[in-house]
């Protein structure tokens, strides 16, 4: 659940003196979207995104003369002039839940990951988040299938479910009980089994009093 195993690291950082064209070329060459800007001690000063860099360039509707002048000026402009300084960061011990909440709330695509001294250790992006949750949920794991089961409302549903599956030697890798949004009082149990024989699984579940939810 820690971001450390999913973040991109080591990460490419730049100094605040790097010029805008150099930074743009670097992003393009590496196919990155975010560049952390750090001082000589590796301390985070800000973030430059591909969008910041694109916005810094002259609009194509400008006349040639003004456009040329603007480009000439850009060649000498350091990234420190356009970087975002109010940057949210993730401490390296943050969990993927912390990351999800901050990425969602701040509506950003990636966050720098820093150590206790504020030095940049890596970047954690929405892509990294998707990868992490995909792994947790077992999406695309070959040889498995996900069943959605209605909680019957009787006590200890998960223990009963596990006991029934284990007694029948049905292997499973994920078990998750969640409230379904459309119906507040209703719980759905998601179960990822690693067997082809779903027919047998359904029979075992039915014998234990559980039924698959088919309209999930």
């Amino acid at each position: 659940m820690n971001i450390k195993q999913y973040m991109s690291a080591p990460v490419l950082t730049i100094s605040p003196e790097m010029t805008i064209p150099d930074a743009r070329e670097l992003l393009r060459a590496r196919d990155f979207r975010h560049l952390p800007v750090v001082d000589e001690n590796g301390q985070l000063l800000g973030i430059v995104t591909d969008r910041d860099l694109r916005s810094a360039y002259p609009s194509t509707v400008l006349c040639d003369e003004r456009s040329q002048a603007r480009l000439a000026a850009l060649k000498k402009t350091p990234v420190s002039e356009i970087m975002s300084r109010e940057t949210y960061t993730l401490p390296v011990e943050a969990t993927i839940d912390d990351a999800l909440l901050i990425l969602d709330r701040q509506k950003v695509g990636a966050l720098p990951v820093v150590d206790e001294n504020g030095a940049v250790l890596g970047m954690f992006s929405i892509r990294d988040l998707i990868r992490a949750y995909r792994g947790l949920f077992g999406l695309g794991e070959r040889g498995s299938a996900m069943l959605a089961i209605e909680d019957d409302g009787r006590p200890r549903p998960l223990s009963r479910l596990c006991a029934a599956l284990e007694a029948a030697d049905i292997h499973f890798t994920r078990l998750l009980k969640a409230k379904q949004k459309t119906d507040d009082e209703h719980f759905i149990i998601y179960l990822r089994v690693t067997t082809y024989n779903l027919s047998a699984v359904r029979k075992i579940l039915a014998a234990a009093g559980f039924f698959e939810k088919t309209d999930h």
């Binding site: 695309g140 070959r142 040889g143 082809y196 027919s199 047998a200």
Partner: protein, 329 residues
């Protein structure tokens, strides 16, 4: 050849009943037993399939033929598991018996025997009634009741033995054929097309529509997942809108059908809801595709279908469709 009633080549062999999977296993010898019995009746004089089936025995696939798809150590491990009397390979789903390795070699070789006969000419199509099935088997792993990838071995054989380079595999078993896809993921000459229950709800959890092959094989994989509850209408729409254009684009020199019958609404191994009539339609489609792109080079391999009597009916419908080519496309 134009108006005479054409015979279909049927690879059928009592040996396939010798792969035992234990009590209450869905992939049972009874499946094939039911099919054989039903076809015996329906091909008797005076019945619908009379004089239409030419039955040949299977042959064992050779080591070199298997190595085009499988890892040598895996073959050794499979054989050893069978001979040592262990009850399954890689996962308890894949139940087996002492004879299972030998029978799996026959299942992988049945298609090869059929291909040789098809290449001699004079036959319009072949169906190999085999078990164990094959489309989940990977290079070095058994999965989902499958040990050797019968369709993948057949595709490689068709290329290497008979120089048919462009092979299309159309797999309409209810489950995604992960093993076939993996075997030809990067190969532009073997097109894998699968219609199956959506991986969010179904085993083996692969076969997403965004998987289109990779590297040089990009575009030569097409996954067409269907929501649970989908029926004949959805299948026919996919055929018109997706399968026919893919065939026209790829123009195969040979066609292999992964014929699984577990999408039927009364087969509880999938949530699909086909009727038994869809298989007649699929038979007609397959015959028409072969007539258009690769006359006489159409091989169907049995994959799933787990209710023995129902499977027998669906196979018969499919054969009937294969024999009346192209009338309703």
């Amino acid at each position: 050849m134009s108006t005479a009633k054409q015979a279909l080549l049927l690879v059928s062999d009592q040996e396939f009943l010798q792969h035992h999977t234990g009590r209450d296993h869905p992939e049972s010898p009874q499946r094939l037993q039911a099919v054989i019995e039903r076809l015996e009746t329906s091909s008797a004089p005076g019945n619908p399939l009379a004089d239409s089936l030419r039955i040949i025995p299977a042959r064992a696939a050779g080591r070199e033929e298997l190595l085009t798809v499988h890892d040598e150590n895996y073959l050794l491990r499979f054989e050893e598991t069978a001979l040592s009397g262990r009850s399954y390979l890689d996962h308890p789903d894949n139940q087996m018996s002492y004879d299972s390795y030998r029978i799996a070699l026959l299942a992988a070789g049945a298609g090869l025997a059929a291909i040789d006969r098809l290449e001699e000419g004079g036959q319009s199509a072949a169906l190999a009634l085999v078990r164990p099935p094959g489309h989940h088997a990977e290079r070095a792993a058994a999965l989902g009741f499958c040990f050797l990838n019968n369709a993948a071995v057949a595709a490689r054989y068709w290329q290497q033995r008979h120089q048919r380079q462009r092979i299309m595999i159309i797999d309409w078993d209810a489950h995604h054929g992960n093993g076939i896809q993996a075997a030809f993921e990067e190969d532009p000459d073997v097109f894998y097309l699968s219609i199956h229950e959506h991986p969010t709800w179904s085993f083996p959890g692969t076969g997403w529509s965004e998987e289109r092959g990779s590297g040089p094989g990009r575009g030569a994989t097409l996954n067409l997942p269907l929501r649970p509850g989908s029926g004949d209408e959805q299948v026919m729409r996919l055929i018109n809108e997706k399968v026919n254009p893919a065939l026209a684009m790829f123009a195969p020199e040979a066609l292999i059908i992964g014929a699984g019958f577990d999408g039927h609404r009364d087969d509880d191994m999938s949530g699909l809801a086909y009727s038994s009539e869809i298989y007649r339609h699929l038979g007609r489609c397959a015959a028409a595709w072969a007539a258009q792109f690769c006359p006489g080079r159409l091989l169907s391999l049995l994959e799933g279908g787990y209710q023995p009597e129902l499977l027998a009916l669906c196979v018969e419908n499919y054969l009937d469709g294969l024999l009346k080519r192209g009338s309703d496309l």
